[in-house]
Symmetry: D2
């Protein structure tokens, strides 16, 4: 119980700390329908605990403010109405200060209730789901703020960060895997989201994965070779999308007369060639792979490879490092599998065999999004340490670019 | 010169005072492309003085922040690039505090320069134009905040206001005018916008204007008689617009099971039947007039009538009263011509005979908008006292509803 | 009566003759929501006679096909439902042959009824309205087919036409008018649409009109001087529209490496410099006039000038010539006032003082369109001879380009 | 060779025969961007033979009309430019008669060349690809015409068809399959599209498939139970789509006061309860399966089951029967696997392990569409007999409704 208590406190405080460098104005704005205001993330994660834990299990529960039930509901039809997503940026009331008071109120009530909840495994699981949910929103808070700041011609920084070490990219090597009849999906007793199971058998042909992520320098080669002008490299829908938006380079890249620049959470700076390319859509990742004579991995290929790594492999450049930007690979062998950048796979986001969504509103967490999205694996530099694992499935539409999403190449053997 | 100095100080302070009840969050958000954040209004009005007065006339001028030249340019192509209007709400930097510092900086420089400017009539005229411009944005700040707050399900109030006096509507009377060969347009030496001139002759048939504005109770009669469901009452384009948006009532009206309610800057409350109906589009105003067996006045009819009023008639419920809501007419005769609500006319916004826009960027002020807009006359409860006059021409597209826009009926004699 | 009979026959046959060069496929397609298929024009004009004349006045009337009442209703809410305008091109049934049979059926019934109708002035007026309506659709049939054929990369011709006479443009002269208190609007006993009256007084300052229309060569000068790239020449809404569509030249103009080309109903050919420029939007016409140091005329200025012309002036290059393309002016003095090209005026389309729409569905003919459109005067090379007059008011939105719309310059004196 | 010759002749003639009941107008119109005019299908299939066979292999080849290379290119970037898809319905020239002449010309040339081509397996394969391509467009021609006719308020019929036999639906049974390590993908020497290979291993858990397709009566039960009003049954994206379009029932269903009706190629008639429901989107199919306590099959589950059927099973109600509407199942056991209705699977359309697109323009046939689409299996009542097989993969976006697409339920064992 103590551990759940301190874990609750740590994770909740971490969210507030992420918002600390931001002004009330920064926390208010919503830069696009896909993104949410930081204030909304602060409130919605609190709403999750209030609605699914306190309201359900606290004797004599009273809502902090009844209207928040609608205001801060994201997409749970089972909970009732919800404020339209594209209009989250219009909720100037409650203020940031009031939302922080809401957080403090719910934290106080929940911490008081924790000893009781701790005696009930189902209730513990609900608190743990709330914490995992909070960690997901920590990452979104970071990527949403990055997008918002990038829309400002002043190109303001979220924080100052030390200049990255001058690193040369490691040569790309191919790591071979036998495939055959394998198992993927969550196993064991630790936390996992429902979409990671059931564990099940898949058959894989022999394959190889690149030892590291594609770098900025490699991707710049694709750009300079006309990769964005050649329809033969693109999926048809991706090509139409690229043409409609007249895209010529990854999100956050810019060009001076002499060099590439990149906007990061530390502001505008020269593009670092050895660092992994990020903020790619599925379409760009797929086109690059085709140009490079390779392909994207499937999620099963990725997971089987990741599961073979020693546990310490997952101690990587996660959000906790504070840098919030991917770093050049420094170790030979299968590197950068966790942290740095989410890795697009060619796998559509679908139910595993035997998957059943949970009953009730919590069952809306994952299953209802299983269409027209693609799976990404491994976590990023904005993912909280300890949040991901080999079986973890992230998912976004093929056009999404504002996450720290990159590419690891794969090929048949 | 003293008078210009104190006028400058008064008007500039009035803008800041209007924003005083608002939080940084309130000042940040933009509820629709037609509206701007309060912070943007505070900055843009300052930009106007910095760009057109200080930059042009201050020896040794240095910009407060060079990037503001683009950020806070509204629509002056002559000044160069501008930040896209629909993205004003994404400028979380500069903060509200920084914008207030920008105001203080420009005020200090301008006030120091005023004695010099005061010796030059053209430069005085430029300062006066900046003040008139500032007053226009004071009104927009109020209507934009009203729209923003209305988007929040909490329906928050901007201020608390005393309950309106319980008033019965005055009976509607018809005030007759002979017409004939008249003159309209600005005459004399006081300030006027370029679009108010040249003064010129128009020929009018005999006509009558209603003695007061159409009331909420009268407009509720139109709604309840099926006015929003009968295409025979509407202009064809208005009908298509109404159907596409499924409109059934004026903006800010709502219905409980038993009664109409209205959202105002004091929050949600019962609709006051004797008060003028506001927040109508041209299409709704026109449909109402047709239903009532009347028509909208032309701008010439309105101006000839307004010019016949004694000067004190213009001391009405303007923004300075602090109520920011129209009030029931209390005087017989031609009432409510100034203040309360802008009055839609049937006149398209067009150049007067002989109109020439000024040279340079300031010439973009009015002339380039003379298409597909309709003229409104008389000022509203959100207009600063002393800002309007009989020849004043406001203009909005036929679909605009978020201004304090109402109807005065007219008919032929 | 004989005259109405032969007039009916002539006009109805003329419509069919216009469609004679077209295949069933040509008559089927609808190139944009603003345009209608030729087959629809053939049917709708017939529907007008069937619905407003036969159904109302023929003893024992039976509809040719009851479903046509909805299919071929354009915009008369008073008649009931109507097929959505953008989907007219999907009505492959009835076939062209069936529509021609529908025409023959209604013609036969109407011609049989004409002797009876001829005894009743109101019924005669209704037949005359139907004929005037038919003539309007003759022009639309021509402009809609031109637009359709222009969308085909084969650039097919509607007809073959003799090459235009090699003409040099006449020098542009200014024709002065005194203005003062004038009268405009239809007078006399001939046919006029309701929107042409009542006749009323207007006051005009002294003004001058250009002696002829702006030519292709003159407009090419505007294009080549960067007219489409300079926002200072454009109305703000026009500039946004131009940018959104990336317009660089008039509709139907194209450019080879060495010269301008123009698509006409005779196919693609070199642009004729001395001919009037056509297919301009209001925005382009207005920008050109500003560039040329002039302005568009008001409709009153135009009408007062046109009314001063001797009657034979109206015998010009109308649709009856068969050329369906404007021709270079050949006469000095105020030329090309009728025929050749509709002339944009700066006047918004609005009700004349005292205007009242007729009762019933026929009252929807004109009045309900009096918003956000601009008046054009004088008729074009696609207008039937005898259809226009000095008081005739055509109207289109400021963005409309597919009519034969040109510019005559005006200026103050 | 004789066999290829007669097969060429038969298939080409079959396309023309499908268009025979249609007028030139019917063949002209395009009802939506996803559909094409019948005339375009007639031309594009001919273009395929002209471009990929004649141009490549005919000595002294001359194009029938050079402009057709662009006009009738569907999506082959490798061939060069193409006419925009949404504007196919504007190509009134060439006429239907000219397109039929184009067909005759290409047929004549190709038939003359066939003996030469027959000696070269690669060239034979190209001709066969063209024939398979033609058969795919035969089906699209039928579904596109059905959609077009459905847009006409007259609800015209494509053909008259005998009333369906009065059939009672067979009870739904579950057919069990062991799963395990299976193989799917095309095997053997017959024709298959590139997306059907390589054959590869997949691991399946034990599962059951419904013995027949879901019927209209069963689906009406879903509708009447509020299936279209309950978000818990829908994928989130599907629910948003349903709400935006206000869908309440399958495409082509209508309701009189007393009963359901269905529009078919024979016109409007009562819905036949025992017939399979068709014209479902993936979203509707998925929601129905969830409501029914089941799920959609994967494409591997479907193929393994289909491969177990005796060969004669594939003799079903294909397009060749002329009925062009699905029929009630009449045989117990695993019925309706081929013909009747395409069956939505839950499988995203993706490359099989080891898939490589062909070189050159023909390689654009399938691979570039492998994103955001779902696989359908088994062919429909509009599919030519002999065209499908167990490994055949059709694919459409999740919103597509105008194909004959239905549902077979699956469940885990």
């Amino acid at each position: 119980m103590t551990s759940l208590h301190s874990r609750y406190t740590d994770i909740r405080n971490r969210t507030t700390a992420l918002a600390a460098p931001l002004s009330p104005e920064d926390c208010q704005a919503q830069s696009m329908p896909d993104a949410s205001p930081a204030k909304w993330h602060l409130a919605h994660t609190t709403w999750f605990f209030e609605t699914f834990v306190l309201e359900a299990h606290e004797p004599g529960f009273e809502p902090f403010e009844p209207a928040y039930r609608v205001l801060f509901n994201s997409y749970y039809n089972g909970v009732g109405e919800r404020h339209p997503r594209p209009q989250r940026g219009l909720l100037t009331r409650p203020s940031l200060a009031e939302v922080l008071a809401y957080r403090a109120h719910v934290d106080e009530h929940l911490q008081r209730l924790l000893p009781t909840l701790a005696r009930n495994p189902a209730q513990c699981a609900l608190v743990e789901l709330g914490l995992q949910h909070e960690q997901q929103h920590q990452e979104l808070l970071v990527t949403d703020i990055k997008h918002l700041l990038s829309c400002n011609p002043l190109q303001p920084a979220y924080h100052s960060a030390p200049p990255p070490p001058a690193a040369a990219a490691l040569p790309l090597q191919w790591c071979a895997f036998d495939g055959g009849l394998c198992e993927i999906g969550h196993a064991g007793s630790g936390f996992a989201f429902d979409n990671e199971g059931p564990r099940h058998k898949v058959y894989l042909n022999p394959y190889a994965l690149a030892s590291r992520l594609v770098t900025n320098a490699e991707f710049a080669g694709f750009v300079e070779a006309g990769g964005y002008r050649n329809p033969a490299l693109w999926l048809a829908e991706g090509w139409d999308w690229r043409c409609a938006l007249a895209l010529e380079q990854p999100l956050y890249w810019g060009r001076t007369s002499s060099a590439w620049q990149e906007f990061s959470l530390a502001g505008l700076g020269p593009l670092q060639g050895a660092q992994p390319v990020v903020h790619l859509s599925y379409f760009e990742a797929d086109a690059y792979a085709r140009w490079a004579g390779a392909r994207l991995p499937t999620e099963a290929e990725w997971e089987v490879a990741a599961a073979s790594l020693p546990p310490q492999a997952s101690v990587g450049p996660f959000a906790d490092s504070g840098v919030l930007h991917p770093q050049a690979a420094v170790e030979p062998g299968l590197a950068q599998m966790f942290g740095d950048a989410w890795e697009w796979t060619q796998s559509g986001y679908a139910a595993y065999p035997g998957f059943q969504a949970a009953e009730g509103a919590v069952g809306e967490y994952n299953g209802k999004f299983m269409v027209n999205q693609y799976v990404l694996r491994g976590g990023s530099c904005a993912t909280p340490c300890g949040h991901v694992r080999a079986s973890y499935r992230n998912f976004f539409p093929a056009t999404a670019r504002w996450q720290f999403s990159g590419v690891r190449l794969a090929r048949d053997l």
